[in-house]
Symmetry: C2
Subunit: 398 residues, 2 copies
Amino acid sequence: MKLSNRITGINAGGSDGWETYVLACEMEEAGKEITHLTIGEHDIRTDPLILEAMYNAALDGHTGYTALGNGSVGLRVRIAERVEKTTGIPTSPDNVFVVPGGQAGLFATHMGCCDPGDRAMFIDPYYATYPGTIRSVSAEPVPVPARPERIFQPDPADLEAAAAAAGGVSSLLINSPNNPTGVLYSRETMEGIARFCQEQDIWLISDEVYETQVWTGAHLSPRMLPGMQERTLVVGSMSKSHAMTGSRIGWVIGPQEVLERLDDLATNTTYGVAGFVQEAAAFALGLGESFEEKIAEPFRRRRGIVMRLVEGQNHVRAIPADGAMYVMLDIRATGLSGEDFANGLLRTHHVAVMPGESFGRAAAGHIRVALTVADDRLEEAVRQLLAYAGDLSARRTD
Amino acid sequence: MKLSNRITGINAGGSDGWETYVLACEMEEAGKEITHLTIGEHDIRTDPLILEAMYNAALDGHTGYTALGNGSVGLRVRIAERVEKTTGIPTSPDNVFVVPGGQAGLFATHMGCCDPGDRAMFIDPYYATYPGTIRSVSAEPVPVPARPERIFQPDPADLEAAAAAAGGVSSLLINSPNNPTGVLYSRETMEGIARFCQEQDIWLISDEVYETQVWTGAHLSPRMLPGMQERTLVVGSMSKSHAMTGSRIGWVIGPQEVLERLDDLATNTTYGVAGFVQEAAAFALGLGESFEEKIAEPFRRRRGIVMRLVEGQNHVRAIPADGAMYVMLDIRATGLSGEDFANGLLRTHHVAVMPGESFGRAAAGHIRVALTVADDRLEEAVRQLLAYAGDLSARRTD
């Protein structure tokens, strides 16, 4: 007997992009002190008030099978209200489907949009799981480059060219505020994407898990654009907005008739989301915008620290981070690839960052700096990073 | 744009088997008092000690992303020890993969064993999600009848005939102790299944979520049979054994090289299982066998109540329940289908049971009685059920 080609092919026999991170963890285990600017996870834990709400819900009996369907009504009401408030688009609890985390939402939406053999587009640079998610549903990943010279804003002409080369596609996956670039898609970009999806008559899957972390400009959900409500599936999550990464809870927003089919899938995959986690999420959403701003604030502050440090030198260029928990740095002037730079920085200064190549070809020659350590430690690490880049540049011009 | 054929086809355009249950819930909402002998869920809640352990784990910081991979080492050690103790088969933590519930385990194992278009076998009668799980992975469900005249023990000749008719299969899914029949597969049955899997060179997926609920005989995991370790994937769960249905936690036991691929899938589907839930499960397993026996005891007792009541009449015949939380009753002497009997019983006596047809063709003319209400209420309901059957039989012979 043999394993399915689907499952053995998820990583396409290649790298999963986490080599530098794994090396950093191994050095840590060997006793080295490493500054991790790698994973997109808060340096704070889930708020004890939320944990208390979860415990009380469990004691109150939310420990049995949940009614299947979209999720608990109480939670869906809160999510729908929040979406309607932030987007202005009428959103009922029937437009909300609760999933065990944003990744589960990405998987479920692609299961719903793609049949085996279909082509599914996504923007490169991309969050590490995108191609694997598409391969997991037996579809073929079609990356579309967002170019550094356009500050990583996708070009509709590139979308059209990629779709034509692929011989037609079923869906497009986008992510704004963007991981890894920190870029927020402009209205012009979003309108171009919307036009493309309508012309091609395809689904748009919009990963908006960083929506509460916006530093410049305003987040525009493509579901807000004319004609896009019926073809947009928005993936949201409590992970980044409420520091609940480990609770595994998120949602999909979309047309009711689509969500009814996601329910069929959930019956056969997740069998619902723990009731006590849903209750905790409803409580957390009830803490309102000020709580979400409190969670986002350290990243806003640290983004400023990194941007200021980078402005003070000329070996490394920063992509202006509009949002999310990262700053992407262009290190091409050092002559190194992102991978070589990241590995060199790790070995010489014990600072771990993610190579741009981990997020696709379009981010080659870049590194992603996660803003996930205390301010002073971040400042020290970025100073080391810039010194390392300066040394490389100096050696290069020798 | 259209939804995938995969997702619109999960229920094969037909019944999902829950119509009687839904009707019962609607009658309940309309104010009727219904005795629910439908869902396989304990009438007790998750033990407060387990919930306290979960809360303490969350307060201790188990609220972030878990290391991906198979699950937390502490939990996997406990599961491996338990499996090794109950089966005698050497089992290391590397043979354990933690999943968010038994259903997630069924889905992941089929994703690993079947490519789109493959045929996947399962035994009819079956737990309601089996065909939908197989369709969810874009494979074709191949049911194999287990016949009432063999007391629902599958016949290797039927397995061979079904595999030949299907033109080859990739996997076989079995479930012992069995839902819905309550039957425990005999050593002879298991040896026949093992021989079949080896001859066909296919995977065996063994759903053993009722392993702690055995009343007569002894549970034999097919992984214990010669030559079966390398081709058996056992799906286990804390749901039934520890009354933790809502916590969504279970596992897959199998060869390490298979579980490494399940990890690739998890990265793109679940992104791990909440750390605080894993800690709670490890704590619960640490409560030992006596706790599991305490959880199982009411079902053993109630199984006795139902069997004794049925022995006192001759309109309904009971399938001798060896295990699980159900007794299956043969109501063919009433002249009704299981569906008509269940709907009639619900409307006339407000007692809800599951029609055998909800679990496949082989269970037609049967009903499944879940042992999930207090003893006196169960006794009263079964007396009503038997009286209803007696009336039907009397009218039939009039």
